[in-house]
């Protein structure tokens, strides 16, 4: 019986796919795994070291922390410094450096920053602290945005008037389209994210696929999932038959999760958004609708942003679109480490630079 767990870690199955990939692969190709969790999984299972030299895996902009713009990080820090504010956040935002500080450094100075595991935890903190403003930085893709929408709807229903979200949510399909322009034909195929796909379904990528006709496979996070997706994309490339293949059938449906998507659409509307490294992408972000503006931190508080400073030499931007790998950045492992990150790709555990730092074998290292 399939337990939907062990099979996807199975060594024999993995070896089977590796052998098949070696047989099929002829052309030198570059595949982008869009999702940060895939990046980490690829490193942790040593997938690069078992693939033939013909295949390069490059990491894309699918770590929510990494693509959050400097302005947005600075806005979170500014919000945390306001009187009477409790800033509740997912853990991996805490260390991200803004222009002058990070939430972690603010916390060490005595600012009330609390780590939560879900938006409903943040809402609970708001209920327990009626005399405080509880702010939640809404970061993440279609995966997390519906849960934040649900929290805002609950807050409205329960009349919790001290709960606010600063929405920095981003949408994956518009970013794929933007990548096609930026990468100038450098990407031969995509390994598409698992979690996001659970929400938007294979149909979520249909317009993108129909426009570019690039080989794609959606997949999960175990080694066998990833190898199967690599094989699917390599086969599509070799036979010249691109398709939108779903290698994550146990979780992803054609239509995705319509209930979650309708929650998201109820609370948020699309807006242009700034992506770190990519710049402005039309209709790729989510703003809180006017109807729920009482819960919009951007609306409620005055946010003071520091003067812009360039991090000289940080190649996060080029890395996020797959044009550079971390070892090609002059700061990597030298000035920029997980303890003193320059850019967010080093700070988030799902960031490309952090994954390279922790797992990548380099000559002389």
């Amino acid at each position: 019986m399939m337990t939907f767990f062990k099979e996807f870690k199975d060594r024999d199955l993995a070896v089977h796919f590796i052998e098949k990939i070696k047989t099929v692969s002829r052309k030198k190709i570059r595949l982008m795994e869009v999702c940060g969790t895939h990046t980490v999984s690829i490193f942790k299972s040593g997938i690069r070291s078992v693939l033939p030299d013909t295949i390069s895996l490059i990491s894309g902009p699918g770590c929510p922390v990494c693509v959050t713009s400097q302005e947005e990080i600075d806005a979170f820090i500014s919000l945390s410094r306001l009187d009477n504010v409790i800033l509740t956040t997912f853990g991996d935002l805490i260390r991200v450096p803004g222009t002058e500080s990070s939430l972690q450094e603010e916390k060490a100075k005595g600012v009330d920053v609390r780590m939560v595991y879900s938006t409903s935890d943040a809402l609970l903190i708001a209920k327990k602290n009626p005399d405080k403003h509880v702010v939640f930085p809404g970061v993440g893709f279609e995966t997390t945005a519906p849960t934040v929408a649900a929290a805002i709807l609950s807050a409205a229903r329960l009349k919790v008037s001290n709960f606010y979200v600063y929405s920095a949510h981003k949408l994956v399909p518009p970013a794929l389209t933007a990548l096609m322009a930026l990468s100038s034909g450098n990407i031969d195929g995509f390994i598409l994210p698992g979690h996001v796909s659970v929400m938007i379904g294979t149909d979520g990528y249909r317009p993108f696929f129909d426009t570019f006709k690039l080989p794609c496979a959606i997949t999960g996070f175990e080694p066998v999932d990833i190898l199967r997706a690599v094989l699917a994309v390599v086969t599509q490339i070799e036979y010249g038959k691109p398709s939108l293949f779903n290698a994550y059938e146990r979780a992803v449906r054609i239509e995705g999760n319509p209930k979650a998507m309708s929650l998201m659409a109820r609370v948020f509307e699309k807006k242009d958004a700034l992506w770190r490294g990519i710049g402005k992408i039309p209709e790729s972000g989510l703003a809180i609708r006017e109807e729920f503006s009482a819960f919009d931190a951007a609306n409620r508080f005055q946010i003071i942003l520091p003067e812009k400073k360039d991090h000289n030499g940080c190649a996060c931007g080029e890395i996020l679109i797959g044009n550079k790998t971390p070892p090609e950045c002059p700061l990597f492992r030298k000035a920029c480490t997980p303890l003193h990150p320059f850019g967010p790709c080093m700070v988030s555990t799902e960031g490309t630079c952090s994954a390279y730092y922790r797992y990548h074998k380099e000559p002389g290292n």
């Binding site: 299972s45 040593g46 853990g91 991996d92 480490t337 303890l339 799902e350």
Partner: protein, 336 residues
């Protein structure tokens, strides 16, 4: 250090803690015993060799599935002494208590300490109590120091790993940290995970009696197995090669790690040890460990190699390879 303030990561047991000790503490207190950087200092007085160690306990919550801060405080120092190959003899106990702390809870903690000391066969022979105003401490902090005698034939140090040596871990990793995490964060997991807090001195004695080929002993507490192996590789200037498939992790711990994006290699343990042993003695030592309830899940996870000195390499489940780094900061739950 770039930071002008202490960050919570300075206490993670990972790289920042390592830097704090290396850059601020060791150069100032500099002496030959300290610079060995083992779990305790080993020195000679007259004919006898002794080990001396100290540890401070600030765990939240104080009570967790499988134990409380009291037994942790006793077992922690007992284990540090045991990792020097010493037979622990005497402990001190210092209490910093926040005003308003429950007397009943304090009784529970003290009684747990007594029980743990009895199991380990040590006596708590001196101590101190301080009470601080509300807010000046979080409920209760405990420091324990301990002294033990090192048998003549024993010579254990993090610097003694040699190419060819086998690496044994005494049981499943990450149990303690997972138990604490679930309790502290109120995570709704149905499978109970208990802290593994235990004193390892009796197990260590059996191992030392069975073989004189034990080169390194370490308890992978803060920073977890990954950090401990890196420390050994650095101290001994050797490489370490481990196999992902051989690392024992409970299914429930692996599950919670998958959910939060944590790596069990960096989760704290309070009743596990890592032994680096002479190749020819490895099976015999393993058998002795397996016959003890605290080592029943023991297994050989890898070996010491001469390649890539100071680094830890892992053969992955699917036959790939990758580095295992030290923990660089507290693991943070990811967004998605």
């Amino acid at each position: 250090m770039k930071n002008d303030k202490i960050l919570i990561d300075h206490g993670s047991g990972g790289k920042l803690s390592h830097d704090l000790v290396q850059q601020m503490i060791l150069p100032v207190f500099d002496n030959s015993l300290l610079s060995r950087q083992d779990d305790g200092a080993v020195f000679q007085i007259g004919e006898d060799r002794f080990a001396f160690s100290t540890d401070t306990f600030v765990v939240t919550p104080l009570f967790f599935p499988g134990g409380n801060i009291g037994e942790l405080a006793v077992n922690g120092t007992v284990n540090d002494l045991a990792m020097c190959g010493a037979t622990p003899l005497f402990l001190s106990a210092g209490f910093i208590i926040e005003e308003g702390f429950s007397i009943t809870d304090l009784e529970k903690v003290i009684s747990a300490m007594k029980k743990a000391a009895d199991v380990a066969g040590v006596a708590i022979v001196t101590g101190d109590t301080k009470v601080v105003p509300i807010g000046a401490a979080d409920q209760l902090f405990i420091n324990t120091s301990g002294i033990g005698r090192v048998p003549d034939h024993v010579n254990i140090s993090g610097r003694h790993a040699m190419p060819g040596d086998k690496i044994i871990v005494s049981g499943t990793i990450g149990d303690h940290a997972a138990a604490i995490l679930i309790k502290r964060e109120g995570l709704p997991f149905e499978t109970p995970i208990l802290s593994d807090t235990a004193s390892l001195n009796h197990l260590v004695k059996k191992m030392l009696d069975a073989s004189d080929g034990i080169h390194v002993l370490r308890d992978p507490t803060r920073g977890g197995l990954g950090t401990t192996l890196n420390e050994i590789a650095i101290q001994s200037n050797t490489g370490i090669l481990i196999s992902e498939d051989r690392i024992p992790v409970k299914k429930s711990v692996s599950g919670i790690c998958g959910l939060l994006g944590f790596d069990p290699m960096y989760l704290a343990n309070e009743g596990k040890l890592v032994a680096v042993v002479r190749k020819d003695d490895a099976e015999q030592i393993l058998q002795v460990m397996k016959n003890d309830s605290l080592g029943k899940d023991a297994c050989i996870i890898g070996e010491v190699v001469s390649d890539y000195p100071g680094k830890v390499m892992m053969t992955t489940h699917i036959g790939g390879t990758r580095f295992v780094d030290m923990l660089t900061g507290e693991q943070l739950p990811r967004i998605c």
